[in-house]
């Protein structure tokens, strides 16, 4: 039995006198879709940034596949198999959809030198096209990413996160600002990807319905600590969670 894909151990993070995260620990197993939810100011963004190495925790450790990752640069973390999406739109607007997606894979193929002297597409066109087809973006393959609609750009962003075949993907508010039709398509694709590849997801999200239907397990944070953990059904009926959201 292999260990957890993501392991978070006793993470502490304070800003000034405020303890934003107070000794949070949890593990995420391969193939799980973990939702991190909590009211505003619950510390979930801080925790998320600690996992991504954007913030250095005051104490505790984050490891991916058994390897400590705190303080790694984003590019290094990505090459260890951690993909992510962004809350704001994060595509390369003046590159085609295809180029966006090839870029997301190319740094994982070959060496610096082979990327200089090798094929312009790093041999990734077919793979990128498969990814484009998976997200049903075929008709937009050669469009500039910046000319796509908001929801379509979110799909490209996700496709980029998956392109390198990561073992763990962190999704930062994927549902934010996406219209309903697009959202159900998006959720369907994320779930399908998880089912096909067994990739582990950690999702931060405000949209309860989205989280409840996508995630297999949910952790609820309030005031920097875990107050509840369980399947969507358990969380839905947990009185502490309802209190935290309503009473604050």
């Amino acid at each position: 039995m292999t260990g957890p894909v993501l392991s978070v151990r006793n993470i502490e993070k304070s800003f000034g006198g405020i303890r934003a995260v107070r000794g949070v620990s949890f593990d995420v197993r391969k193939g799980e879709v973990l939702g991190l939810i909590g009211p505003n100011g619950s510390g979930k963004s801080t925790l998320f940034n600690c996992i991504l190495g954007q913030l250095l925790p005051d104490a505790g450790e984050v490891s991916v596949n058994g390897r400590p990752v705190s303080g790694l640069r984003a590019s290094h973390l990505n090459r260890l198999g951690v993909g992510r999406t962004f809350q704001q739109l994060s595509v390369f607007p003046k590159m085609t959809v295809l180029d966006n997606i090839i870029l997301a894979g190319q740094e994982h193929h070959g060496t610096m030198l082979s990327r200089l002297f090798g094929a312009p597409d790093a041999g990734l066109t077919q793979e990128a096209e498969r990814m484009i087809a998976f997200f049903r973006l075929n008709h937009l393959r050669d469009e500039l990413a910046g000319s796509l609609s908001y929801g379509q750009q979110k799909l490209v962003d996700a496709a980029m996160a998956f392109m390198a075949g990561p073992s763990l993907v962190l999704l930062d508010e994927p549902a934010g600002g996406v219209n309903l039709t697009m959202l159900s398509h998006f959720k369907d694709r994320l779930a399908a990807y998880n089912a096909e590849h067994g990739t582990t997801f950690v999702v931060i999200e405000h949209n309860m319905e989205f989280v409840m239907s996508l995630c297999t397990r949910i952790i609820v944070l309030a005031e920097g600590a875990i107050i509840a953990e369980g399947t969507p059904e358990e969380i839905r009926s947990n009185p502490t969670v309802i209190d935290a959201y309503l009473g604050g």
Binding site: R73, A74, S75, H76, N78, R79, R84, F86, Q88, L89, S90, V91, F92, P93, K94, M95, D99, I102, L103, A104, Q106, E107, H108, M112, R115, L116, F117, G118, P120, D121, A122, E143, G146, S147, L148, S149, Y150, Q152, Q153, M160, M163, A164
Partner: protein, 326 residues
């Protein structure tokens, strides 16, 4: 069907570059040769500035390294073709050493470091007379003899330079079309996203600077046999600025920009000769005006004209909406 047109235009220009100097006076051929040499230097700096987004103010000192290396070695009896790679490697390594600390820190530190470096190189060239001949410089360097093809005549040296420039341009074309080129573009558009997709921003930028510097070395290695006399004054800060402005005027980040920019900077003094001393005042004033209105350079002006006169491709319905979003 865009690509064949572009290829055709390039071939046409190349044919022009071959035919124009035929039967011309030596002076014009000399001007054309220096245009090619400065195009090479500007092409290298374009990689640093236009693609990797870093300002280098040391392109003239990399030209100096290339020029003095080939000068010293050819004077000592080595063939130019042996001296050239040594000059290039030297520039590349110096670029790495200079860029590494400067690019560790965010911001425009490379601009300051290269500014300092250019001054430092100038001082070395001036003061270390035993090696560089000091202010008197070095002279009498032979032109490369390529067996069947001697470059002693001005015209044959022009063709030699043209050949080198074409090879350098093809290599650059390869670089900007390679996955590296894509990484540069990504870096320019959204560095945070690029980093999160595994692009090692720091390393890519550093290598772009080092390669750009080697192009400076190549240009310098061609200066030596062209003028057959080099002195520190030709490699001062003003010359680095000159190359930088070539890149900007032509259009930083566009492939053909450096050739246009170099042509403007080389030819403008001839055109504005009647203004006498006011040439640089007019030129720098024009550059500022250009940066206000068309920051993408002369290539940008061309792009705007083309967009105006050519029917747009059919716009998809949701495009305006997409473009408005941040």
């Amino acid at each position: 069907m865009r690509v064949p047109w572009r290829l055709l235009a390039v071939l046409l220009l190349l044919a022009a570059a071959i035919l124009i100097p035929l039967g011309q006076k030596n002076y014009l051929i000399y001007v054309l040769t220096s245009w090619l040499i400065f195009s090479i230097a500007a092409m290298g700096l374009n990689l640093t500035l236009g693609y990797a987004g870093q300002i280098s103010l040391a392109q003239a000192s990399f030209m100096a390294i290339g020029a003095y290396t080939t000068a010293l070695m050819t004077l000592a009896g080595w063939h130019w073709l042996v001296a050239l790679p040594i000059g290039l490697v030297l520039c590349f390594v110096v670029g790495l050493v200079l860029g590494y600390p400067a690019l560790r820190v965010k911001g425009h530190f490379l601009a300051f470091v290269t500014l300092a470096f250019n001054t430092l190189v100038f001082l070395l060239l001036r003061n270390e007379e035993w090696l560089t001949g000091g202010t008197y410089g070095l002279s009498g360097m032979p032109r490369p003899d390529l067996g069947l093809f001697s470059t002693d005549k001005q015209l044959s040296f022009y063709y030699f330079t043209l050949g080198v420039a074409v090879i350098a341009a093809l290599a650059m074309w390869g670089i900007v079309r390679s996955p590296w080129g894509r990484a540069f573009k990504a870096l320019r558009e959204n560095p945070v996203r690029a980093e999160s997709l595994g692009v090692d921003t720091r390393r890519v930028t550093l290598l772009a600077f080092a390669i750009g510097s080697a192009y400076g070395g190549l240009a310098g290695a061609l200066v030596t046999p062209l003028v057959q006399f080099i002195e520190p004054g030709s490699f001062g800060l003003a010359h680095s600025l000159r190359v930088l402005l070539m890149v900007v005027v032509g259009g930083a980040g566009s492939f053909f920009g450096p050739f246009i920019g170099a042509a403007v900077v080389i030819l403008l003094p001839e055109v504005l000769r009647f203004t006498e001393g006011y040439y640089l005042i007019i030129y720098s004033g024009l550059v500022i005006v250009m940066l206000v209105f068309v920051p993408s350079g002369l290539i940008g002006i061309w792009g705007r004209l083309r967009d105006r006169f050519r029917p747009q491709r059919q716009m998809r319905g949701d495009m305006p909406e997409g473009a408005r979003l941040p």
